[in-house]
Amino acid sequence: MVEEIKKVIKGEILEKSPQRIIIKVKNDSFSSTLNALKGLSFKRLTLFTAVDFVKDNQFELVALVYSNENKILAIVKTRIPKENPEIETITNIYPNAFKYEVELGEMFGIKVIGNPDSMKPFLLEGWEDLPPLRKDFDSIKYATEHYEARNVEVKYD
């Protein structure tokens, strides 16, 4: 299988285990890679998410696609810069990516071009702060500032 993938996809391909293939591609060939993988029986998008690599000042987009026939999960990764993050939509390839893309916009501030609901609220209502899943957003600070806690004096005796 890996050989077949290597034929159609340009990028770093790593067979981690018999059922896991990691594919690292360039930003601009992300959707074409997924398209090609779909042709290679990777028909199901299992997960589409992002990781905030704050040290590299980059987002890593991760799409997990699965092949029912070969029972192989391909982890497709790409990196995009953190300033004005924008990606092309992949809903034309995997329709169920729609809400994952909305979530990317809400949780990371990644704008998805071609997705009409991108950057619209999905889980959060009236959120005005930084996108919460970014590493530079501090949840503890936000929670202590905004929500009053019960003052309980703990006595150890």
Partner: protein
Amino acid sequence: MELQETLEEGYVEILDHLRKRSLWMLHYCTACGAVELPPTITSRFDAERFGIAPFVTSRQSDILLVTGYINIKTLKRLVTVYEQMLPPKYVIGFGSCTINGGIYWDSYAVVKRLDLYLPVDVYIAGCMPTPMAVLEGFRTLMKLIDEGKANGWRKYIENYDYYKANQRKVLKW
């Protein structure tokens, strides 16, 4: 109107005594604690023998069960629903999350104390409280009603500004 006054003064104790035997809780699974409500209601623990039954709309119900953590999106609905309910109405805080935020003390999406936003009559501690604990909570509420101490709804009217201010701070209304 005379009857009303008589009801208010003379028979209030009898009424409370009868009223506590019929408590309808709102069918609103606000959070994960709702998973222990079906066992409470259904055949094994059978809350209906105390006159406790789930009811559908806010107008019909007496008890608002806040079953666990309160997301701010949910809090907005909770306040709306609570204000739609008809007094006397009671709020039961269910699980530790309603008391002090519980395990979600550091979450940006969850408020920590329910009693800042709604007047709570009874808390049921635990994560999550077992049906036995839930029934004990209901029994406590019944006792409070019988003694005329379950006055959360009066507190809400008297301290309306306080509650509204707290709500506004969180909900950006």
